[in-house]
Assembly symmetry: C2
Homo-oligomer: 382 residues x 2
Amino acid sequence: MTTSWFRFEVQATAGKARAGVFHTPHGPLLTPVFAPVGTQATVKALTPAQVRDAGATLVLANTYHLYLRPGADLVAEMGGLHRFMAWEGPILTDSGGFQVFSLGDLRQVDDDGVTFRSHLDGSLHRFTPEVSVRVQEQLGADIIMAFDECPEPYDRAYNERALERTHRWAERSLRAHTRRDQALFGIVQGGVFPDLRERSARFIASLGFPGHAIGGLSVGETKAEMYATVDLVTDILPADKPRYLMGVGTPEDLVEGVARGVDMFDCVLPTRLARHGTAMLRDGRRLNMRNARFARDPRPIDAQCTCYTCRTFSRAYLRHLVVAKEMLAATLLSIHNIHTLTQLTRDMRQAILEGRFEEWAATWRAAQRQTEDEGRAAEDRA
Amino acid sequence: MTTSWFRFEVQATAGKARAGVFHTPHGPLLTPVFAPVGTQATVKALTPAQVRDAGATLVLANTYHLYLRPGADLVAEMGGLHRFMAWEGPILTDSGGFQVFSLGDLRQVDDDGVTFRSHLDGSLHRFTPEVSVRVQEQLGADIIMAFDECPEPYDRAYNERALERTHRWAERSLRAHTRRDQALFGIVQGGVFPDLRERSARFIASLGFPGHAIGGLSVGETKAEMYATVDLVTDILPADKPRYLMGVGTPEDLVEGVARGVDMFDCVLPTRLARHGTAMLRDGRRLNMRNARFARDPRPIDAQCTCYTCRTFSRAYLRHLVVAKEMLAATLLSIHNIHTLTQLTRDMRQAILEGRFEEWAATWRAAQRQTEDEGRAAEDRA
């Protein structure tokens, strides 16, 4: 059994898009796949049963947060993250790098690692590639990430320096990693600079990781820059390993990512929007459920959607819950939003398997343009 | 079919305790029964599927809150409360009286009704028995309540005045009620005064309601006074109608209530305690899950409990969720606490049906005394 873990089978392709299976110790992961985020070992407002019923097959948890609270040693003692949070499918942990670098003044980077203060109590900590990998081994996710630096995307000089560090840290992460039942992914950085991205993709690909991630996107660059970068990087990364576009999760980004050869995505967007009372539609539109026009609307959020929320509740009820600040609003909208994104990846997978992805994508893009035009027209009328 | 609605069958008795079936338009209600509270048309932090899986068969919703937001006309337009909140079983609404009287300075009572200001926006409203019944007819619950006044339990003069009003309002509620698919219950008041309680029980029982409630308890009086009042009132209320002890929901109160002939209970306690991180045990103990002693405790809250939370999660995980202020803590503890109370009523029902309730109650009380003694001993050691 062990030998087949982390084997990635590409079952069908359509242009650069791929449908595949990534074998993990917690079952096969069908790709393309979208993973909701369970920062503190819980996808906010949902039980694991609800996460699964919403269509998720992979969840992400954040190493930085779990390292600070409840502590990776505690999670290990409780049997690891799967048992602790009762998620039976595959789990992915990030390296903690992104969160640590997001701390701004609370952190200081050197070539060996990063010293930072906890956002919880100000206590002093230090992450190095070795610490990040050890913590991720304690957490016990199926897929873990090399420790990397995620710089501001437009600062050329900083990106060059950071890239060198990220590459050294990738090598050190690989050397530090001991668990055979975890796949350690390398991360390509380089901001918006094509030559840096190309250099990074070639270097990271040369190290023999069982999977590769594209980091440092969806952090302020334009859509055109994001898609061009993805295109460039996926041309270089080996085809027989899964490709993971980190932190990305709008419907448009999923479609354009898959079309450019991405297999995995994660994002807080569906659950964060849900907590703010916003429903995502598969064509990219968003409904602010607080809006008075939903007060007496007996329809579901999306008549085509098969999620528990759409099968069971009216927009009027959801609007009531949002206005009344009821926790159930976050739960029901999270279910719907996660279902929207996971179903979108399932539909793309099916279209790729059936050899009709280009057609599917063209139809999706046309529908999206139309709703965008209608949206502008509606705004003009308002 | 219509003719069998609201028939109450007593299936077995044990002393004053009864096991019964109350037939409603949304199915038979097996008694004794405990109803969790869905104040704003949602049992906080739970989907209806989770409420049902936690063992609830009846839920309560609050007329005052729903009248103000989203409005009873809106709920009626959306198909009524069952459809609006997607609860397929029986629903009970209170009259709004208790909430309105809890407003203190924001309300003014006269013999005809109560004028009050909304706690939401200060707008002026008026409830009379006729308004309360009309609003409850719009909401469409299976069981609705007569409009009553719930005074401070120790003020004799006020209780005498309030009781007269409550009795007039009971008659007016009955006259105002038109829906054949709803059972209107009368409410016995009278504070802690046996003669007033007796007068009230005799009068309310004489009006021919299909069920009777005992109001104005669990509002500051002693346990001894509560149980004595229940005992006195259930001796008077007719045996062929269900008896509902309003706002009561500790394990001890359920056991002592059932032993004194009560069939129905409701309380916010299990969900409110859950939101504060507290787990209820069936012997009456409470666990503050924030406590550091649970940090590395791999056991479920209660090894005997069969709820989703206890089947799936450790105390360590629940403690982590509470400390990290994750919404899932409220969800999982609400599931456990509701299950604890509904299972307790189920166990009592089974014991009554099998002719061993007195034994069961003696065992329960002995276990409770023992844990109380242990609790005191533990406090002594601490």
